[in-house]
Amino acid sequence: MRSRVSLSRKLFNVSNALFLTGVTLLGIVPFLHLLSISLSSNTAAMAGEVKLWPVGFSWDAYIYLGEKVEFFRSLRVSLERVVLGTIVNMLLVFLTAYPLAKSNEQFGSRTVYVWFFAVTMFFGGGLIPTYIVVVKTGLIDSIWALILPGALSVWNVILMLNFFRSIPKELEEAATIDGAGHWTILWKVFLPVSLPSIATIGLFTIVGHWNAWFDGILYLNSPDKYPLQTYLSTLIMSMNSMMTSVSVEQLKVLENLSEKTLRTAQIFMGALPIMLVYPFLQKYFVRGMTVGSVKE
């Protein structure tokens, strides 16, 4: 009896491990395939010979990439956006979370402000009115169109204020007795102790700005101002529009005309920074979820 149970258990363990390995491959293989294409010769890539390993290994795509003006121009815009956007976002999150972390007794108007911000999480004007407001505030075709409309993330404010509430009251009280005002407490007491959660929220803000592409399509008119992901999206969408209503033969020709290895290399470079910080992302994410679930 005992051995029969453990046999079926063994069978389950093996098939479970096999199945989960399969799922794992689903997560990894597409990226391996992408990398292999970018490291293959263009002819092999276009003929569809490349699977999981480069065929006719060549660095050519990355050498061309080094001379690709559009790529580096958009990379610079992306870096600019990430730096400016993260500074603005984090400053606003920090400033907004501090007063909202106070109790209602301490800060009487708190409830009004909380409702003011909370409403925006449940209702919004939608794409078209937002677009018109961005036009009317003169941000079109400027990098600020990618930063100011989303300057305040209410979700991040909630994360931050939950963290602020976990700071021992004694710290603030001691500072108040020493004659410190709110500003001093914010910068000299709260800022140093909240560095870990600032790092967490900051990392997600950076990833958000790096990954965003649609606002670039919507708000920027000149392609030379596109950030990297927006530039990549134009590569993909122009390919898509070529595919419409053609025969199998035409489609094959079209797929071959595009510089496949170069396009693939650029897409891979767009993913690379995220993959490099992925271990931190994963770790902080789980922590962020537990911080966010702390209830009032």
């Binding site: 989960l20 305040l152 649609f214």
Partner: protein
């Protein structure tokens, strides 16, 4: 009066956040009046003529509108169901893995696509399913004709749903796995003493143990029944597959930004926002009643 003076800095801290929220969140909400206007960008919200419900009448009689609504609900519901089922199965299977390095590795591989943008993932998916891509190579190896996945309405819809599940399943899986780990270990020990096998333990301990979090996740997911994945579809679709994949958001985008029909596009947006608000309020209320779930 003394309190006001003491709290004065708190209001100052909130000022930047309030200003940006007023302009870019409440501004567009107020701008929704354009749904009832013959909106002219040059005249703006204040000087455009009011035309009552004409925009709504115009949009609802458009031949595409019913199809768009159907696509939205169909795609969103399929995604919602799979976003619960797939992570649940994965979490249950991962929980049976005894080697922790293997479990961590599988989790990392599954969670990775969550952090990448749709430009990168869309580019990969299009490449995988292209005419001479790896999936078609597999199809050919069975002696079948290659399939134009990206130009076939039902295939394309399946790919949209499948690839979104691929990108997003790690999120719910991590939450569910955390809930499983939180179940009291003595329950399992007691069950073992009573002679319950692994299967019975799962049915009677694990599933009831994570039922609350599964219910909260599904209830919160209901609020997004009109969000079928705008950025994903926008980057992957092409006019040939509009019939099977055009959703409210992509429809609004083309109607408003490309055709410059701002009034009708805003009307569709308002229609969506109102339904979503009703659903979100109802589901948050349900989540609060059921599990005392609160965001603030």
């Amino acid at each position: 009066m003394k309190k006001l003076k003491k709290n004065y800095p708190l209001h100052v801290m909130l000022l930047p956040g309030v200003v940006f929220t007023l302009i870019y969140a409440y501004g567009p909400m107020a701008g929704l009046v354009m749904a009832f206007q013959e909106f002219e960008p040059l005249s703006g919200f204040f000087k455009s003529d009011f035309i009552g419900l004409d925009n709504f009448k115009y949009v609802f009689q458009l031949p595409d509108f019913n199809q768009v609504l159907w696509n939205t609900v169909l795609i969103a519901v399929c995604k919602m169901v799979l976003f619960l089922l797939v992570p649940l199965i994965l979490a249950l299977l991962l929980n049976e893995v005894t080697k922790s390095w293997f479990s961590r590795f599988v989790q990392s591989a599954i969670f990775l696509p969550f952090f990448l943008s749709w430009t990168v993932l869309g580019g990969i998916v299009i490449e995988l399913f292209s005419l001479n891509g790896p999936v078609n190579a597999l199809v050919s190896s069975f002696g079948l004709e290659p399939i134009m996945f990206m130009l076939d309405n039902s295939w394309f819809r399946t790919i949209i749903i499948g690839s979104d599940v691929w990108k997003g399943m790690g999120y719910n899986m991590i939450i569910m796995l955390a809930a499983i780990t939180g179940i009291n270990a003595t329950l399992y020990e007691a069950a073992e003493v009573d002679g319950a096998g692994k299967w019975k333990q799962m049915i009677h301990i694990t599933l009831p143990g994570i039922a609350p979090i599964v219910i909260v996740l599904s209830v919160l997911g209901l609020g997004g029944v009109l969000n079928a994945g705008f950025e994903q579809i926008l980057i992957m679709y092409n006019p040939t597959v509009y019939e099977g994949s055009d959703i409210i958001d992509t429809f609004v985008y083309r109607l408003g930004i490309f055709s410059q029909q701002f009034g009708p596009a805003a009307a569709v947006g308002l229609f969506k926002s109102v339904i979503s608000l009703a659903l979100v309020s109802a589901t948050y209320y349900a989540a609060y009643k059921y599990n005392n779930y609160r965001i603030f």
